[in-house]
């Protein structure tokens, strides 16, 4: 007997494990008959998961937390039992802004502190000359993209709410908006950064792994209530994802994976761009300069699929820093409980992946080490934060 499931996703490379679990038959082997539903907005994914039109979803990790806390929307407890991707975003800037930052930079252009300080000088110069504030695009108010951009520029003294304008843009509109000057930069997932570089309208300034070594990006999200009622189905789903992730991470399978993801009803873009994303080998400049990183996007390797509650609390801390949430120990606890390594471990047993050394660490380039037990103390170390509600 097979169990029918409807799972929503947004066409991005970090939906890879979900798509491969279905298209390579790993879900079927676990007795699951999954229908993947491609969506156009995170709002849709969230709402359809919340009201039960989807059994599970490819979801921004911060949305799972916001939904569980009832921030900005209906409160529906969500859990994340499988981490679909760690990192995977990049910050891309227009050629004009790239030149401006490079003319101000002191030090290594891959050092986020050096670029953030250079950005603050560019911002100051623009203010002096009476130019309009720079505009940065990101994908959703509750998104890692939002927090990564803010964390980075604030470290250089740029106040993301006062000194620049931060706007939400749907990923498919990012590249056009950069090309026509509506935004000067954006932070988005794959493939959009590469698309901008290939078209010659953007330079990849940073992989987000420059900013944080480990950021929970997208999760396999289910309603807590549904998960408690269907523990066996959820376990089967986790196992199917694990097999898919193992398949994806095997370098020998990369070409096949890129082909599967490139299908029009899946991500629907050039398989070659997907391949570069999975390999962490990206063209960062229209002149053809390449950059490689083993930390660009992790789909399961190094234990990255195991939900790390510390990363959930770090995301909650960002919500507090930027006044999307109020601070309380209860809220921190709710955020932490969204991520469920226990369910991941139970489903996989000895096959569970884990990186003892890295688990529980964020690895941010600035600020003190993150202590999930003391969000207030951690945030007190930052002098740029949202002051007025």
């Amino acid at each position: 007997m097979t169990t029918p499931l409807r799972i929503g996703f947004i066409p991005l490379v970090d939906a890879a494990a979900l798509v491969v679990a279905v298209d390579k038959g790993f879900a079927k082997a676990e007795g699951l008959d999954v229908t993947l539903v491609r969506e156009v907005s995170w709002s849709n994914v969230r709402d359809k998961l919340n009201i039960g039109l989807f059994d599970a979803a490819h979801l921004l990790a911060p949305v799972a937390i916001a939904s569980s806390l009832g921030l900005g929307h209906v409160k529906v407890p969500i859990i994340a039992s499988y981490n679909l991707g760690l990192n995977g975003n990049a910050i891309t800037v227009s050629p004009g802004l790239h030149a401006a930052i490079m003319s101000e930079i002191e030090g290594d252009p891959f050092d986020p502190m050096a670029t953030a300080l250079a950005l603050s000088r560019v911002v100051a110069a623009r203010r002096h000359s009476g130019a309009e504030p720079l505009v940065f695009g990101m994908t959703f108010p509750f998104s890692t993209h939002n927090y990564q951009l803010r964390f980075w520029m604030a470290a250089g003294g740029v106040d993301p709410d006062e000194d620049i304008r931060l706007v939400v843009l749907p990923p498919p509109y990012m590249v056009d908006s950069l090309a026509n000057g509506q935004v000067d930069a954006f932070c988005v997932g794959a493939p959009w950064n590469s698309v901008a570089v290939d078209l010659g309208v953007g330079h990849i300034l940073h992989f987000v792994s420059d900013i944080l070594l480990r950021a929970a990006e997208k999760v396999l999200a289910t309603r807590r209530e549904w998960s408690e009622k269907n523990p066996d189905i959820l376990a089967a789903l986790i196992r199917a994802h694990q097999r898919a992730a193992e398949f994806i991470e095997h370098p020998q399978n990369r070409a096949e994976v890129a082909g599967i993801l490139g299908q029009p009803e899946r991500i629907g873009i050039d398989a070659d761009v997907i391949r570069r994303t999975l390999d962490g080998r990206l063209k960062i400049s229209p002149d053809g300069t390449m950059r490689e990183s083993s930390r660009y996007l992790l789909v399961g390797r190094e234990g990255s699929a195991r939900p790390d509650p510390v990363l959930a609390v770090w995301l909650y801390a960002q919500m507090v820093r930027w006044r999307q949430a109020t601070i309380s120990p209860e809220a921190a606890e709710i955020a932490q409980a969204v991520f469920r390594p226990d369910l991941y471990d139970a489903a996989l047993g000895s096959r569970a992946g884990q990186d003892e050394a890295a688990f529980g660490s964020v690895g941010a380039f600035a600020g003190p080490a993150f202590d999930p037990a003391d969000v207030g103390g951690y945030l007190a170390a930052f002098n740029v934060f949202r002051r007025v509600p």
Partner: protein, 196 residues
Amino acid sequence: MGAESSPKIVIVDESPIRAAILEEGLREAGFTGVVRISEMQSLLARIYALDPDVILIDLENPSRDVLEQMFQVSRAVRRPIAMFVDQSDSASIQASVDAGVSAYIVDGLKKERIKPILDLCISRFNAFSKLQDELDRAKSALEDRKVIDRAKGILMKLKGLTEEEAYVLLRSTAMREKKKIGEIAQSILTASELLK
């Protein structure tokens, strides 16, 4: 917004026909302050300039995420906006998602005032998709007829049949093969292309 005057409603929809149908429905129901936006560039700036009480957006629109930004308190936002969710009425949320529309309201607007707008919206959206289905069916029927006419022509020429006989041959073949007559006609066209 005057408490009793008609609320200002913005419809964000890239389908001009559907937006027009919705606007007409709202006007008929006495909501006179309706503005349509079909261009997604600088969406927020346009909305702020209009300063509406209610925003309606179709769910096929990626710019729905842009509207979520309005919940965030920021300098750019003059009046906080909330998504319309009546937590006590999950049936209406379900109905609105099924119909493919979502409503955002300015904080403070009474539930009783938004409910009739949303209900109307749902029924118009459903009517529109029914219309769209019918149109699609009519289009494919027309396509079929063109294909069948061409297939009949080929049969008449090759086998020296009358139009009536050609049609009977197509129909009986379709019945025997348990296929649609349009499919049989299409395979005749394909075959004749190949044999040219």
